[in-house]
């Protein structure tokens, strides 16, 4: 018994090192870089780091499972690692972890998707001849750093540490979007992502400051005001205004990081980064940080109905807004980016409707199928010689059969095809919306139809119709090598099966059990309920299965419509004719970039130029004038010091003559 306890505790302390392994691997790659040898081995270190993290993440996931059938929830555990700094007033900020079901899910998602993506990158970052891309080792070092940062973000036990992880993932995102920094678009996209996130993060920081101010009067001696556990314990003591303000400010941060209206503009541009980065950072993990944060702060948001209303509507509008733009794009990765934004908006609706468990469930299933889709798009891009425009190729199912099959699974999951993971989680969100807010439910239902439609528009345009290849692809495009197929296959398995953790098996009539068997709210929900999350209680077996049939029908009709219109990959764009100017508006992405450019960027740039001019003429001018005065004086006096003996003699003689004349005519005192 004692031995078992010791084993458990040493396992625990090993588990606490979880985020350090990817960091160590990133540092190791840095050292290899410095030595110049082993550059080609960079991936080994990072795969090893990610593998250790994935194993420990899986161990934690199991460890954090609630005892028994899940009803004996124990709540979150705050675990102190080390002190960090003192805030005065006896307040400390420490390195501490907060461990509960939500942490467990995030650890599982982050470490498993990260491992898949890192393995995939080994194949992706080489060309067809096996030559490594420029910056190969830099790429892997950044990936390692990102995994560390994301793990810090999800493990953090206080708001300061959360903010640290939050900023670190932002930095890694910036570095990886700008990975091809010689390409002007990539450099601009990285800058845009960083600046737009900065706006959100500013609100986020203000939210943390406000929270500290408001919570400080309520803390007991020995409690640290910014620890989650303390905040959640005292959340109910804040006034409604205080908690609404804090929640709205925190949500600002979530809007930036999770690409919601109006701070979403960076996400489509972020697709300039390599495809594995899009899959890991801009689909599966980092962009879900906002959803995670709002779910984590459940005890705060539960007391802030106004903030929840804002969250719901920002989500609902964002969902359909992104979906319309996705319907009229040709860049595969951009379609997927808008779809990511739309799906994240679904999660925010679930959060706003008091169903954070459904939001996290969707986060979890979405991570697998969206990562799969991005990796599949990357595989297409890899084979097509970096061409990703759907107008440039079609009929690829004959040349890329493996990619096509895996993409089909991902597309079906995203479209909400019955029995795949996306179906289960999306349906739950629809259910939550139906119970809380009928207009939002209608919007989401329409969005899920559009999701199925645009996903399969993309799929058919890419893989169906006659075979056409861009010139950059060469005559014989290669399908993905095994090192890319393996992670995609595992993610595809996740895209099919992951949802079953969240459904309950309940034999019954087809009206209350979908296909006689399935009901919502399974083991996964008990798992995430074990912690800080505040969930509106749902009675088991209460949800009728009708909604399942409706959403299944919506998804299938959407796919069928796409098949009717795009099944042969027509090049004349049927939607353009059907929707007319609306389609053009969608295609131009509502001109939002142009509007932002005119309203914010250009005025700010003009202001910057003005400041620059003032600095040049005013501040620099004053300093230069101070320096210039002695110089001008010297320039005058230098004429006298010409080194000519005779002019000195003349000056001396004249000077004496003047003195003599003064003496003679002015006189002495």
């Amino acid at each position: 018994m004692l031995l078992a306890a010791e084993t458990a505790s040493s396992l625990m302390s090993l588990g606490l090192t979880l985020p350090l392994w990817p960091l160590l691997s990133a540092a190791l790659v840095g050292i290899m870089l410095a030595s110049g040898r082993f550059r080609g081995m960079a991936h080994v270190a990072v795969i090893a780091g990610a593998l250790v993290a994935a194993v420990l993440g899986a161990v934690w996931f199991v460890q954090l499972a609630p005892a028994g059938d899940g009803h004996g929830a124990t709540g979150g555990v705050s675990m102190d690692i080390a002190p960090w700094f003192s805030l005065g007033d006896g307040q400390m900020v420490g390195f501490n972890y907060y461990l509960d079901g939500l942490t467990g899910v995030m650890l599982l998602v982050v470490t498993s998707v990260a491992l898949m993506v890192v393995i995939y990158s080994v194949g992706y970052m080489k060309d067809h001849h096996g030559h490594r891309e420029r910056g190969y080792e830099r790429f892997f070092a950044f990936l390692g750093l990102f995994i560390f940062s994301m793990l810090m973000l999800v493990l953090a036990g206080n708001f300061v540490l959360l903010y640290l992880g939050w900023e670190l993932v932002g930095l890694c995102s910036y570095l990886l979007i700008g990975f091809y920094y010689r390409k002007p678009e990539a450099a601009a996209a990285a800058k845009k992502a960083f600046l737009v996130n900065r706006i959100g993060d500013f609100g986020f920081a203000l939210g943390i400051f406000a929270l500290y101010q408001y919570i400080l009067p309520h803390v007991q001696p020995g409690e640290n005001a910014l620890d989650y556990a303390v905040v959640f314990r005292h959340a109910a003591q804040l006034t409604a205004d205080q908690v609404n303000l804090v929640c709205l400010l925190l949500f600002c941060g979530a809007m930036g990081k999770s690409a919601q209206i109006p701070l979403y503009v960076w996400l489509p541009d972020a697709m300039e980064g390599p495809s594995p980065v899009s899959a890991l950072i801009h689909a599966a993990t980092m962009v879900t940080a906002g959803v995670y944060m709002v779910a984590r702060c459940g005890p705060l948001f539960a007391n802030a109905p106004d903030a929840l209303e804002v969250v719901t509507w920002v989500g609902a509008i964002g969902a359909i807004y992104a979906a319309t733009m996705a319907m009229a794009q040709y860049d595969m990765k951009r379609i997927l980016a808008y779809s990511t934004m739309s799906q994240l908006a679904y999660m925010f609706v679930a959060l706003g409707c008091g169903a954070p468990d459904s939001a996290v469930f969707h986060l979890y299933t979405h991570a697998f199928f969206k990562a799969l889709l991005f990796l599949g798009a990357g595989s297409v891009m890899h084979a097509m010689g970096n061409v990703i425009d759907l107008r440039e190729f079609s009929g690829l199912r004959s040349v890329l059969p493996t990619t096509q099959r895996l993409m089909l699974i991902g597309c079906l999951a995203l479209a909400g095809f019955p029995l795949l993971s996306g179906f289960w989680s999306k349906d739950e969100i629809l259910h939550a919306a139906l119970e809380h807010n009928f207009p939002v439910f209608v919007i989401l239902l329409l969005t899920s139809f559009m999701t199925a439609y645009y996903t399969f528009r993309m799929y058919f345009l890419c893989f169906h119709g006659p075979l056409r290849l861009p010139a950059a692809a060469g005559a014989h495009p290669h399908d993905a090598p095994p090192v890319m197929v393996l992670p995609m296959t595992l993610l595809a398995a996740g895209a099919v099966l992951a949802g079953y953790l969240g459904v309950a098996i309940h034999w019954g009539s087809p009206l209350d059990s979908f296909l006689f068997v399935f009901q919502g709210h399974g083991w996964f929900h008990h798992y995430v309920h074990n912690g800080s999350m505040v969930v509106t209680p749902v009675e088991h077996g209460s949800g009728s299965a009708v909604l399942y049939y409706v959403s299944a029908a919506v998804g299938i009709v959407g796919i069928w419509m796409a098949w009717r219109r795009y099944g042969t990959a027509p090049q004349d764009e049927p939607d353009r004719k059907s929707f007319g100017p609306l389609w053009l508006l969608w295609h131009a992405r509502y001109y939002v970039d142009e509007i932002f450019d005119a309203v914010f960027v250009q005025p700010l740039r003009a202001l910057g130029r003005l400041f620059f001019a003032v600095d040049r003429a005013g501040v620099d001018g004053a300093v230069n004038a101070i320096g210039g005065t002695p110089r001008a004086l010297g320039a005058v006096l230098r004429v006298a010091q010409n080194g000519m003996l005779q002019s000195y003699a003349l000056t001396t003689a004249l000077g004496i003559a003047v003195l003599a004349l003064l003496w003679r005519f002015v006189g002495t005192p």
Partner: protein, 103 residues
């Protein structure tokens, strides 16, 4: 008798000064300094012989003798320098020697 003597001294000094300032050849310039010197020596001797107050004394003429000796020594030194300068630069034009720092 004082005034003519002083006037001759002043003329000598002025001629020397004008020559010093206007001429370019170092030897001529050097000769002009001697001329200025002699104007002053004449002044000293004149004021010694016809002082403005008190009895005449030999102090002025004694100074003149001293100064002649010093002027001889100085002329030897100065001419040696002029010769060296000529060797150094191959010219005795005063404009060639306006660089004050090491070259």
């Amino acid at each position: 008798m004082l005034i003519p003597l002083v006037l001759v001294g002043a003329a000598l000094f002025s001629l020397g000064l004008i020559g010093f300032v206007t001429r370019r050849n170092l030897i001529i310039i050097f000769l002009c300094t001697e001329l200025m010197f002699q104007g002053i020596v004449l002044n000293l001797a004149a004021f010694g012989r016809y002082p403005l107050s008190g009895p005449p004394s030999l102090d002025g003429q004694a100074f003149a003798i001293f100064l002649l000796a010093i002027a001889a020594a100085e002329a030897a030194l100065g001419l040696a320098l002029v010769v060296l300068l000529y060797r150094y630069r191959g010219t005795l034009d005063a404009n060639a020697y306006k660089v004050l720092k090491d070259s």
